[in-house]
Amino acid sequence: MLAVSGLSVTYDTRGERRRVLEQVTFQVGQGDAVGIVGESGCGKSTLGLAIMRALPKNGHVDAGSVVVGGTELYSLPTNLLRAWRGRALGMVTQDPTSALTPSLTIGQQVAEVYRYVNGQSKREAMSSAGDVLAAVGLAPPRSYLGRYPHELSGGQRQRVAIGMAVAAKPSLLVLDEPTTGLDATVEAEVIDLVNSLRGEFVNGLIFITHNLGLVSRSCNRLEVVYAGRVVEEGPTGELLGGPAHPYTAALLACLPRPGARAQAVRLPYVPGSPPVPGEVLAGCKFAPRCPLRGEECTANEPLLVTFGTGRNVRCVHPGRAGTALAPPSSRQKGGRGDVLLELRGITKRFRSVLACDAVDLIVRSGETVGLVGESGSGKTTVARIVAGLTTADSGSLYWRGELLAPDIAKRPRAVVRALQLVLQHPDTTLNPRHRARSILARTRRRLAGPRRVEELAASVRLEPHHLDSLPGELSGGLKQRVAIARAFAGQPELVVCDEPVSSLDVSVQAAILNLLADLQSSDQTAFLFISHDLAVVRFLSHRVVVMYLGQVVEVGETDDIFAGPRHPYTDALISAMPSMEPGQARAVLGERAVTAVPEQGCVFQARCPHKLGTVCEQDPPPMRAGDNGHTVRCHLSLEQLAEAQRLYQPVSGRGCTVPSTSMSTRSL
């Protein structure tokens, strides 16, 4: 249905020609869903755009062809291209906000597809638009047609974008990182939606992503792309089960496994980053980062060779990948000590939004506390209040039992030194006009840090030459290392980390997680680690705090929370975790309404699958106490929660069956 053969693409940047795709060949058959995976900068998105014949002006196809349903895309005359492409291809991009025009209603934008591609009248097009919106789960469609994009949540916008892409029933749908930036619960729903559209709306699917958990759930074939080349391809299950290329193996090994804990093991990871497009490397492009490399690797570029049925791999040592990475090394367990930080009744309101509602939280020395929740749950506000960047409306902070000034400017220097924050965005956390060295030197001087700048850099595994770089010359992972080194300049006792790895590739993420765990075991540093990624939180944390709409709904030891019984919201988050294991993540929650916190009763009532009835709507739920300080804020008792989860849990694996929504919890 789609045949890409020998596709080579070059970008012209300021007079320099850089090859980004080299001889890419693959097919998508009828009913196939093909995942294209790799780190950022490997040419995944370029491949998607080339398949759409939508490369930016400076991109050129040098060789190869893209054949969709028998038509060669690049030999079509431009006047026919638009109409043909509208019928044959659909695309969903990463950012649904920029894919929709803010000044037109949803209905107008979706109807446009029917008017231009299918030639329908205005009225017909609008009713077709309503049908497709219903198909992508925006019901009743009538209430969505007249709305503007800003009136929808991120997940709803992505549904509209998917609806527009499949409106003309294209034979092939290209999805480029369609769920990046969405919460895990919403992500699971969007993936379910895409899977449900196969067959009825589209025949084939290309799924471009860096998230291996996602492709394992929705794709039957994978193309692993590195440095613009396909390095491995094959059926998803076999390929993830026994990767033949060291790169695939490395990407898999970087992911924190359910049993692994940062206190015990170090994640294996691949050093370095992909070559810059245009960089000339002899032989295998992965060789500089490959643990298996030998002289034979740099002599000639390996060809794509057959490896088992339906599998190809571009490696001199096909199949030795499993032995490539050293087994995870172990680490000394550090102990947990006295209470360092305590939050009591922290409340913060931004206009009408209650970001924190009487939040209580404790962090002990040497301990990692994971703070999880969807976006909008108030996690970042807690981090900023702890760091003194935002002041709470009410409630108090205690540092080693003493009252802590809410504003950082009024805190004693010793406390500032001991309590630091790693900010969220690696791209803006460093001043673009300051070199890494001067950033670290200034911080060290201000915080009277004991270690020299070079030692600091070495402690986060920065090379000395990185110190003389401007942030713009550093990759995201390196920037985040500088930011971590900065937080550690004054030998802190507690570091608050606000989503420090969420924008990084898995290989880089693994390196940063190792680094944090190493620093903890060497310096006894405590972490308040904020993340929406439960796999990461489980790997790193001793204890987990779950927030929903500004409220702490559950606190407990990591193992206790993952074992249950747990809050229905925590359960939903855990169910939505992408996983390498067979089966599918479940989307158990309805998407959160854009409307604010309920006036009374439980904050989670609107989405709770176990809602009891009026008691949940009227009374604030009690705190239920379990073992080891495990507390759950719910009207259901712990026994009832355990029972609810058991009923919800599928027989084998996790989440193979979608629970019937009509299940009554009243019988519990």
Binding site: G272, S273, P275, R413, V416, T429, T443, E473, A487
Partner: protein, 287 residues
């Protein structure tokens, strides 16, 4: 295993130099820059090659048509128009940059301080700025020059005073955007004081805005100086200043249009080239 050599993500040539190279390849920019720099050179060095003394009158040859001896003819006193054209560049080439610098310094400081601190100071200052902006600059300048008496210093301060609020508003907007970035929070996390925040953290990042704003203001400054001297509020006779010459040449435009045309074209060439340079700079550095 030895450490992997880190790939250089970006070429070693700094970004601004690449951008300058790209700019110079654009004809609108390079030609305008050539004209602009040409006038600067003339303003500094005209004494070295001026064919006649600009003030040398010649009673026997007033209103001389352009010829080999007088390239652009002579004026009502028989003075060489070409020589006066070269000499007349000096006042505008000195006054306009002076105005721009004063406006930039005052406006940037205001914008940086109000943008960074916000609050009541910001509201107060910005209301004043808005009020100043609503009054037509030229009327204000005429008023001020008439009341205070005309001198180059007053001229510079008056025009710069009209421009500074505009600069302040642009810089403030840029500061507001920078203030939201994580690196500012990072500096707060080590208890940096306001002066350091503004001067070391934020200023370098709003510098492109300030420079582009400067280039735009320079164009307006040239125009403002020419306008005020046309109105007789700039340099006085017998100065060869362009605006003054245009206003005096009006009465002879029927018989000797070259007297008026030469400085008019000069003003136009300067204003257009400054504006084009500013436009291209803005396109390259701010978008």
């Amino acid at each position: 295993m030895t450490a992997v050599a880190a790939p250089t993500l970006f070429p070693a040539v700094p970004a601004w130099r690449q951008r300058l190279g790209a700019l110079l390849r654009r004809p609108a920019f390079s030609i305008s820059l050539f004209v602009l720099l040409g006038w600067v050179v003339v303003a500094v060095s005209w004494r070295l090659y001026v064919p006649y003394a600009p003030d040398a009158t010649n009673a026997v040859a007033p209103f001389g048509t352009p010829s080999g001896a007088h390239l652009l003819g002579t004026d009502w006193l028989g003075r060489d128009v070409f020589s006066r054209l070269l000499a007349g560049s000096t006042s505008v080439i000195i006054l306009a940059p002076a105005i721009t610098v004063v406006a930039l310094v005052v406006g940037s400081l205001t914008g940086l301080v109000t943008g960074y601190y916000g609050g009541i100071v910001d509201v107060g200052v910005m209301r004043v700025v808005d009020a100043v902006n609503t009054m037509p600059g030229i009327v204000l300048s005429v008023l001020a020059l008439t009341v205070l008496g005309r001198s180059d210093l007053v001229l510079v301060l008056v025009i710069a005073g009209g421009f500074a609020p505009l600069v302040a508003r642009t810089v403030r907007a840029s500061v507001l955007a920078e203030r939201e970035r994580d690196y500012v929070d990072a500096a707060r996390l080590r208890q940096e004081k306001g002066a350091y925040m503004i001067g070391v953290e934020i200023l370098p990042n709003v510098m492109p805005t300030i420079l582009v704003e400067g280039a735009i203001r320079l164009g307006y400054a040239v125009f403002a100086v020419a306008t005020l001297s046309f109105l007789g509020l700039g340099p006085q006779q017998p100065s060869p200043d362009w605006g003054l010459t245009v206003s005096l040449g009006v009465q002879y435009v029927q018989n000797a249009p070259w007297i008026l045309l030469a400085p008019s074209v000069a003003i136009a060439s300067l204003v257009i080239s400054v504006n084009l340079v500013a436009d291209e700079l803005r396109r390259e550095f701010l978008h």
